[in-house]
Symmetry: D2
Subunit: 117 residues, 4 copies
């Protein structure tokens, strides 16, 4: 079984064991995801970019926990909506490749609808 499938099953079981399904509307799960993302981003808020590239072991453990929380709510949300994440990613990558042709955006962080510098 794929790892996203495994996470989905584990999250389903965890939720069912606590009878939390009534709380897990897509709306609510999107909010929970936003809350966890806020915790993740706050880990990096006072770090320089260089510091963020070489976290201490404790910072790394915190980041791993927050990444896990975001991943679990993302899986739960996709599951509630009947969306397969791997397929959604494959589809979006095709769109992104059209939006950002490699030869026009090399080394540039501009938005796809901004003019080249």
């Amino acid at each position: 079984m794929s790892d996203l499938e495994q996470i989905k099953i584990a999250v389903r079981n965890f939720t069912a064991e606590r009878a939390w399904q009534p709380f897990h509307s897509p709306k609510n799960l999107a909010m929970a995801l936003a809350g966890e993302t806020g915790e993740l981003v706050s880990l990096f808020q006072w770090l320089t970019e260089a510091q963020s590239r070489s976290l201490t072991p404790e910072q790394l453990a915190d980041a791993a926990d927050e990444i896990a929380d975001v991943q679990m709510y993302l899986v739960a949300l996709a599951d509630q909506l009947g969306i397969g994440i791997a397929d959604a990613v494959a589809n979006k990558m095709v769109k992104n490749a059209q939006k950002y042709p490699a030869d026009q955006f090399r080394g540039s962080a501009r938005k796809y609808n901004d003019p080249p510098a």
Copy 2:
């Protein structure tokens, strides 16, 4: 290869083809993740919980795209930090199970450090 591994490889290639690695510090990727999560949550902001459970095909397609964007930045962030997402989720689930024992939190949305109602 697992699907999270496949996404990691695809995101790495996409980034490398555009020479975007210098922008992809963990700090910046955490911000990009927050931005995409904001787009995802905004899809649900004016919907009732019931409406969020039965999206129109167009809303569902938008949600799939935003879920994909969140997933891709999450994978990119974990990759930059050298964190394996599947392992991080497995570890965090053990912690969550200790924080929220099933018999004490059944049907309750209270926080682990709040008293029972």
Copy 3:
């Protein structure tokens, strides 16, 4: 003095007394704002809309604290950028009124570029 001005002065003093100005780049303040917004949104994630309209005194106190944190970082960010919040709001309201003409959007939550139902 206006109340946004007063908050600005108070935040400046608080920051200066701790010599935190080097951390307060606009980039970092935007991240801190995202983190606090995440805490605010998480207060509401498992509540129904009806419950969110009648918070308990404790929930209300938590919401007030998080609203204050968001307000302080928003003021700090605007201050670092030299943006006057009251003017920015006045300008944006004019744009929003053009984007959402009252007679075309009455009672509708659709986006300005979506067709009427």
Copy 4:
């Protein structure tokens, strides 16, 4: 009238003219706030801290618009909850000063419950 009061009145009128009050539960407004914060943080995601301190006029105009959107939803949320923002900020500043005594946190970005370096 104070400027936060003025914004509150303007937001109330804007909302009433479009009959949008039914959408404006605190839960929904917290989500809208998270969405706008996501847009604000995304403006800074690929900028260095130095670049974020010297925005181009166009970037500055975008930032002003997003700051305005965040401010308006924050005011709307506080209004729905019956929370006075200026008072909430004053109260929270007292708590923050106790959490972060100036002499112990000078020049340090550590969290209040982390040990000094």
